[in-house]
Amino acid sequence: MKIHLENVVKTFESFQAVKGVSLDIESGELVALLGPSGSGKTTILRMVAGLEYADGGAIYFGDQDATDIPVRDRGVGFVFQHYALFPHMTVADNIAFGMKVSKVKRDKAAIDSRVTDLLRLVRLEGLGDRFPAQISGGQRQRVALARALAVDPKVLLLDEPFGALDANVRRDLRRWLREIHSELGITTLFVTHDQEEALDLADRVVILKDGQIVQQGTPEEVCRDPKSAFVMKFLGDANVIAADVRDGRAYAGELSVEAAGVADGRAELYARPSDIDWSEQGPGIAAEITRVLDRADGRRVLATTGAGEALEFDVEPERVVKAGETGFVTLRRAKVFGV
């Protein structure tokens, strides 16, 4: 089911949470709404679900205007951040709930066999008799997904589905959700504030700020070509170095990088930690190492430039560096945004 949002607006009391968002989600696509808290991403998701009504604009499911269809008739599956499992029902009863209350009558045997299928799909065979309090957080979220899928939704909506889980479980579930999506091919929209999660999981990432879309595209597009300093910073660690732009090049100390399309004048260079090289000799920007952090996947160096800018970059784990050493940084690549 294709979803189309047209200039959707939502205001709470005096706070405008969503300021005119238009968005297309193709049938079978897996799309992430990514943004900091207060960016309106959850409100958008809830409006698509019908859990909030839009103050303005329209939401289409296929060709049908779904803007005013109540949630119970909209045919969406919704997965909540804190699972929202019915605590007084067993796992199997939770999954069967939608089928039992549906206007389409099913006999008990059909419901039971569907519950068994879904338990297998979410890899929880044998846990049907447990109560939600008796299973782990990751298992609960999988039950919540099975419950949402049980009603054959046209659209699957997930609100920070893995936000309440610890990092390892989150990574496993992410991979697993991707598998389920390729298996079922159901149009899926999910909300997250975790850029890694959005980039790992989604076909397309929609980045929001203050109730508006600031950029959207495939993970490759948004990562390789961020259109604003906000997107650059939000997607990952970024070093900021003051620069001057003259005739399409940005100059910072002895370095210069290409800056096509940036107006002459003051600007900022943005570089990822992996885009910075460290050497004892110039040319480059002089800096002093303030701290060395050893991590499982490498050695992170914190340094300060002569101008007082804090930098973070990675060196090979074998390389000997110490706090207090001075040297020069060079940039392998950088993005330039005017200020």
Partner: protein, 274 residues
């Protein structure tokens, strides 16, 4: 090895509590049982099963059941309205719920009698329909309703407040109608609190005295409640008979508490980990 507890004050607080529980709760109840037991079985049985006693149990229990059933519905809807909606005067309604707790029950009794007597505001209207409230079991029931209503409201209210809205949203997104969601999701989650409220309310109705005696008329065999019968026996200096009848109320209260505890444990099975 000695097990150490980081929370201070256990011996002192436990000692003080146990001492007072013994002094204020256990000792009087033991005295009551002792007094009743001094009667000998035959006398005891004659007193507690006399037709006047039996009639008082009947009117007390039936009125208490009626009042509790009414409070179950009215208390639940009152708690529902106070918790779930924001309307002008909500805080006043919320505060008024506690009034029966704060008001001396005799005051409530006098006020209700004045309202429901044949010449009172309500009484004169109801009389036109041929309904008599004052000096009948209906009056007893109304007095019981009045004093025990807060128990249901105040036990259900916090649970309703803590009910995660996402549960209802989830049920809605799965296609449940409002009534289905109330019946299958909300009500089962409220059940333990409702049970607790019902048992407190019922126990209060069984023991209510002050509010009832003004409105009940207190005719032996028809509108005489058990608590009043105990009082009458006391005034006659028949302490043993008073204790005997009181012990019946005590047993009834114990039985009720045991049953509700069991029902509550059953209703909360799902919270058990493991």
């Amino acid at each position: 090895m000695r097990r150490r507890n980081v929370l201070p004050g256990l011996p002192l607080s436990l000692g003080v509590t146990l001492f007072y529980v013994g002094l204020i709760v256990v000792l009087p109840l033991a005295a009551l049982a002792f007094k009743a037991a001094s009667l000998g079985f035959e006398d005891y049985w004659r007193i507690v099963s006399s037709s006047r006693s039996m009639a008082s149990y009947r009117v007390t229990v039936l009125s208490a059941l009626g009042a509790t059933a009414f409070n179950l519905f009215f208390g639940l809807s009152l708690a529902w309205v106070i918790t779930r909606y924001r309307f002008p005067g909500r805080r006043i309604v919320d505060a008024v719920v506690d009034l029966p707790f704060a008001l001396p029950t005799a005051v409530a009794g006098i006020a209700l009698t004045a309202l429901f007597a044949n010449s009172g505001w309500f009484g004169s209207v109801l009389e036109g329909f041929g309904i008599k409230v004052a000096y009948t079991p209906i009056g007893i029931m109304i007095a019981m309703c009045f004093t025990s209503l807060p128990f249901i409201v105040r036990t259900v209210q916090p649970v309703l407040e803590d009910l995660d809205p996402a549960l209802e949203e989830a049920a809605q997104s799965l296609g449940g109608s409002d009534w289905t969601i109330f019946r299958k999701v909300i009500l089962p989650l409220l059940a333990p609190a409702l049970l607790a409220g019902v048992s407190l309310s019922f126990a209060r109705c069984l023991g209510e005295f002050g509010a009832i005696i003004f409105i009940a008329g207190n005719q032996p065999m028809s509108t005489e409640i058990t608590a009043l019968l105990i009082f009458i026996r006391l005034e006659e200096y028949d302490y043993q008979a008073a204790a005997a009848i009181a012990s019946v109320l005590l047993l009834a209260a114990f039985f009720m508490l045991a049953v509700t505890n069991w029902l509550q444990a059953r209703a909360l099975r799902y919270t058990v980990k493991g």
